[in-house]
């Protein structure tokens, strides 16, 4: 490996290809950087900011920052962990993330990243927004309370499934996920559980019906091992506790 094509990440040399982001190069080298809106199968979105790292002394989102030769990147420092915790805490109070009452608990990426950064409590004042639940689809349930606006379902439905079922509407604190039908109901779309969009949500917003609690709480993906060891729930096969259909 020539000197030109590596950067250092927490002191470790990471090789990269031209055009690769810091996140993509780290992932390829087997180094975990916490992330929520990033999924290696999609172009980066850069919205959740959980992946932020210090590049040559400056904070940047590693999922959008291009890797460059000789960069000095810091990720696992107490300063960055603290900022990541703060971002997670804001995500938790902005929605209604009632883990004890959520079917996704234990296999939820939002929860797993919060565990990883050592979040013990949400710290801020809860918004308790009033958001609906859409149970109109025969096979899928949409619980908007848990949406963190990562737009992975939007991207998957539009770019992979070619269905364009989801969209984000409104701006700032009013931004929210909608279903692209006049009624706004998932049941009125051709959404199906075999869609890519059904497999990418990092939270418990999009759930399949008729299969709740098949794996008991306590035996789920992130119950025993942290996300940096097991990986993203969306990248793992259903047989391995993930949600990717083979």
């Amino acid at each position: 490996m020539s000197e030109e094509s590596t950067f250092t990440l927490d002191g470790r040399k990471v090789p990269f290809r031209d055009g690769q982001t810091i996140m993509a190069a780290a992932l390829a080298a087997g180094v975990y950087i916490p992330h929520l809106c990033f999924n290696p199968e999609f172009p980066p979105h850069g919205s959740c900011r959980v992946c932020l790292v210090k590049v040559n002394g400056r904070m940047q989102a590693s999922c959008t920052a291009p890797a460059m030769a000789g960069q000095v990147v810091q990720s696992e420092t107490e300063e960055i962990r603290e900022i990541r915790r703060g971002i997670l805490q804001m995500l938790f109070v902005e929605g209604n993330h009632v883990c004890p009452a959520c079917e996704k608990s234990g296999a939820c990426q939002l929860q797993a990243v919060a565990y990883y950064v050592g979040m013990l409590a949400p710290h801020y004042t809860h918004f308790y927004p009033r958001r609906p639940v859409d149970a109109s689809h025969p096979d899928a349930l949409l619980d908007f309370n848990r949406c963190i606006l990562c737009e992975l379902c939007v991207r998957a439905s539009r770019d992979v499934d070619g269905k364009n079922v989801f969209a984000v509407q409104g701006r700032g604190i009013k931004a929210h996920l909608v279903v692209n039908t006049p009624s706004g109901k998932l049941g009125a779309t051709d959404f199906s559980l075999s869609d890519k969009a059904a497999q990418v949500c990092p939270t418990g917003t999009i759930l399949s019906k008729h299969s709740g609690y098949e794996i008991p709480i306590g035996q789920r993906l992130y119950d025993r091992k942290p996300i940096n060891v097991v990986g993203d729930v969306a990248a793992l096969a259903v047989s391995k506790g993930g949600r990717r259909h083979d």
Binding site: F92, N96, H97, V98, C99, P100, A101, C102, S105, G106, Q111, A114, Y115, G118, L120, A121, P122, H123, T125, H126, Y128, R130, R131, I217, D223, R224, K225, P226
Partner: protein, 180 residues
């Protein structure tokens, strides 16, 4: 040597007593704990008046006026105050009622239920007034430590209490940090 035992008070506000059950799950470790601490006001002792305490452990969020008074009293009398469990930390399952108007919740339970005779919303002066929303306790008083879980496992409680009593920083192993 610890000369006098540390005084510990506990209470359940808007919780289900699950956290207290988990505390009892310490089983024989309770004997070790009893060497170091003495319970003051707690559902385990049935002492009604809260004395000056070293540690206060709160289960549950605040859902009514009495919860708020109890919480303020705990803060005033306890040197260290701990939020234990999902409800104390984020409102938990009871806070799911925040999705609805309080009036709708009461009507749904007391006037629209099945098999009700002379249906009415209870209004006895002895019943503490409900707050319009359920809130976690850190939104009302300063909390010194948070122990998540629904409930936190006995092992998590043990790690936490042991480190706290030893004056060490709290570091829970991965498997003991849970929000569910």
């Amino acid at each position: 040597m610890i000369e006098s035992k540390l005084k510990v008070a506990t209470c359940s506000l808007c919780g289900c007593f699950g956290c207290h059950m988990s505390l009892l799950d310490l089983d024989e470790r309770l004997f070790d704990l009893a060497e170091k601490i003495e319970f003051d006001r707690s559902p385990l002792t049935d002492i009604k008046e809260l004395g000056e305490c070293d540690i206060g452990i709160i289960e549950g969020g605040i859902a009514n006026v009495e919860n708020v008074h109890t919480l303020l009293e705990f803060r005033a009398r306890c040197k260290v105050l701990i939020a234990m469990g999902a409800c104390a930390i984020s409102g938990g399952v009871p806070a799911m009622r925040n999705q609805y108007e309080l009036k709708d919740c009461l009507e749904e339970s007391y006037t629209r239920g099945t098999g009700l005779v002379d249906a009415q919303i209870p209004n006895d002066p002895e019943i503490p007034l409900l707050l319009d929303q359920v809130h976690p306790i850190h939104e009302v008083v300063k909390i010194d430590y948070f122990l998540p879980g629904c409930p936190p496992s006995a092992d998590a409680i043990w790690t936490f209490v042991s480190q706290l009593l030893a004056g060490q920083p709290i570091t829970l192993p991965y498997t003991q940090i849970h929000y569910d």
